[in-house]
Assembly symmetry: C2
Homo-oligomer: 562 residues x 2
Amino acid sequence: MAGEDRILANGAKHIDFQTDPSRYRHWKLDVAGEVATLTMDVDENSGLFEGYQLKLNSYDLGVDIELADAVQRLRFEHPDVKVVLLRSGKNRVFCAGANIRMLAGATHAHKVNFCKFTNETRNGFEDSSENSGQRFVTVINGTAAGGGYELALATDHIILADDGSAAVALPEVPLLAVLPGTGGLTRVVDKRKVRRDHADYFCTIEEGIKGKRAVQWRLVDEIVPNSKLEAKVAERTKEFAAASKRNGSGKGIALGPLTRTFDGGGIRYGFVSVDINRTERIATISIKAPDAPPPADIDGMIAQCAAFWPLQVARELDDAILHLRINELETAMLVFKSHGDSAHVLAHDAFLDAHKAHWLVNEVRHYWKRVLKRVDVTSRTLVTLVEPGSCFVGTLAELVFAADRSYMLIGQKQGDNRAPPAIVLSALNFGPYPMSHGLTRLQSRFQADPSDVERAAAKIGEALDAEAAEQLGLVTFALDDVDWDDEIRVFFEERASFSPDSLTGMEANLRFAGPETMESKIFSRLTAWQNWIFQRPNAVGEDGALRRYGTGQKAQFDMTRV
Amino acid sequence: MAGEDRILANGAKHIDFQTDPSRYRHWKLDVAGEVATLTMDVDENSGLFEGYQLKLNSYDLGVDIELADAVQRLRFEHPDVKVVLLRSGKNRVFCAGANIRMLAGATHAHKVNFCKFTNETRNGFEDSSENSGQRFVTVINGTAAGGGYELALATDHIILADDGSAAVALPEVPLLAVLPGTGGLTRVVDKRKVRRDHADYFCTIEEGIKGKRAVQWRLVDEIVPNSKLEAKVAERTKEFAAASKRNGSGKGIALGPLTRTFDGGGIRYGFVSVDINRTERIATISIKAPDAPPPADIDGMIAQCAAFWPLQVARELDDAILHLRINELETAMLVFKSHGDSAHVLAHDAFLDAHKAHWLVNEVRHYWKRVLKRVDVTSRTLVTLVEPGSCFVGTLAELVFAADRSYMLIGQKQGDNRAPPAIVLSALNFGPYPMSHGLTRLQSRFQADPSDVERAAAKIGEALDAEAAEQLGLVTFALDDVDWDDEIRVFFEERASFSPDSLTGMEANLRFAGPETMESKIFSRLTAWQNWIFQRPNAVGEDGALRRYGTGQKAQFDMTRV
């Protein structure tokens, strides 16, 4: 298995994104009525890899996997929760950010993947706040430095203890020669709208900013003396809960462990299977339609729990993508296939649309949105093959539009008497699944002529064969059986022969035509610059700042300004 | 002098951005009435550096310096010109793009600077089209590959010969393992709105696309058989000229050679001087106010020719910035100072505002805009010091707002009886000089509360001392004489000690809060990814594609997907 060359501390062969609160080592999740408290109390001896200690609430990917899990569970398992308090379990320390020894020892690929995942987790706070009414409040009781402050930046409200020592800081540039790359630079000026020269000052001092200036410069929302801190937290919690639009109730849906089987060639989930061809560097992700129509009503859906098809598939696909990203680094392409009864998929889409006001349906829809966004920023060539027996309809058709290229068979294959494939659009292709830059995949696809979106919408519910789909611009190429195998084989071989780096850069540009949002800026302007810096000797070389940190030796810089 | 370690072919000690048509080796500029023809006919033996030949109309920075000069002259010297035809002087070859051997041998810094300048030149086509009514039409008579097609992409209309062989191509990814980074990827999907999957296909084939598909996929505007090509060009020229809003007339303003003196410590121009302290890694750029009020009227301005203060200063500042960027690579900071009579500066601003409908005034305003944009994307820390005797008012105050940090003296300095410094705003701070992301510098600065822009506008014409300026948010720090020297010295020393790379990344993020435009996306999403790739061994290593190109040996890639 291509991937990390470091040894995982838990003896595992790959990094696993599945966890649950009973296994957390770094976070505590306490729920009391409308309020959940997420307490960060990192076990310094439980790093994901060997070779470093997670001191001062510093974190690695393992810490963030727990956080992502907790935030996800809050949305599905805790419909009553309207406010999430983010706190530290350490005395006078909030969080020291990403662990520097971990970063110094990490491969370039791990650094990039680590930052991508932590960015997605933090974007998830904001998504929950905006779309699920779970407002996030950070209580900073000590130093929140680097990634520690970036955690806070992703929340709605930051309370800083006014004790003469608690401070927020982004010391990456002066201390480590890298960027506050987990959204920090972007959120400071784009979300909190800190004036750019104030931000310049703030991002170039090691010690950070505390007290009144932190408020005046908009770095935190308020400062509160320790003696009044708990009262203020209670007051804000009450206010935010009262203003929340969260309309959940009842028990929530337990996100039980995914049923997975790993074998050398891939992973089998319930509805998703992954087949990895390491010679051809292709991972094929097959998605199976539900075996039955959706439940008759909300009660029926709740009775299905996490086995409700749209939820289960989203969880499985999410896990598969994360696994492939970080554990199968030499995979060049993700090839999406599907099979099963399209009518059942469309009926589930209709269910998700009819009941969108219900809190759980709302969560499922937003989860699908987030999984698809995860696909969009995955640095692998995305290909979708629409073949006989497939069910790329409605929500699953988004995987056709997310692909860098899609191929659809005209007619049937010789010796295969299944009907020619058809794409069917549903209402869910026209709104609920925007990309990170704010457009739906069809809007993004049809920027040349927005009326093409309307033309497609007029066909909602119709079975579109390859020629119709091509004519509507929904697929890249419609091929008949004579050409299918050869065309696709040549494409796969060519693609796998190209430099992976240039494909990453190309796809990151072509996928996001049009507007940018704060979220997309994090994955473009900020991330691309950080990745560049993660290649520069001033940061990662033998004498660079990341390697020299904590050794007592000063970093040596090439002073050329590029 | 820090900078290039390669030998300049012309024996010069530094790269010079000044030229004129009599010295062009690669371009011909022919003007006939409303139509100018820019013919690219690269002299393969006149590369900027030794060690490569510019075959097949491939280009290096030297070729682009001529192009930038020509485009600039068209705006100032040719008020009648409404259409610019971009053509090749070679038979069956349009342009092969950036020269690969040049790139393979170039330092990382040169590659980055080369791309930045070429991007600015191409953005200049679009700026001229939008704001000066000079519409650009490209006639592609053969292969337009890579940077060759990117040149065409920056024009308004692309005519492709339909002769079975002329084609457009972006073969960087399959051939060279780098990106079409001179706007190519961005313009394909953002400007020409090519569908993303078509773009994916197009950008991964070496041979490019010709004929009908090139039109269907929006890669070119029309294809024309060779027999009808000249008639079609004439027809389009006539149409574009008729639709042009260019309202110039008369002789235009000759852009004579700048008067410059280089010495070891800097450059002296007429109104701009540059002092370079290589020990402290600081370049101080001082701008002098005009010696007299503006001319009484348009005729008076025309009589001054290129000595009209706003034009001369813009040209000098532009040249100084370009020189420092590429020839003084170890400079950490550009420190802006000014001196002279503020009233004269403001009177010139008033002149530029009163006569903005005049074609030449329009050109001067847009030129200042472009020079300031050049400052914004310069990878040096920008600092502005507002001291007694300075004239940071109106247009020059933009250098306060462009700075990463500004310092303004409260009161006077001991032993200096000049009046305390004052900033004065003019109408020109509130519209005509937007940054590349579309906001004025004050709008960008005051995103937290847009009414701060109005508060500032209410003070137009008032002399604002340090405390008033600080209170309005116009400067970062107001300091009195007691603190001034120490604070600034410590700041300079600290800043110069940081990793240049992390500062580049940080500043590129903090300077551009808020929206993105196609232009800003080119400098962020596209450029940052390209710079990353320009560091990756798959492209630039010994066995990378740039080095191996043309050697007959295949590039060796690390297949890890990052």
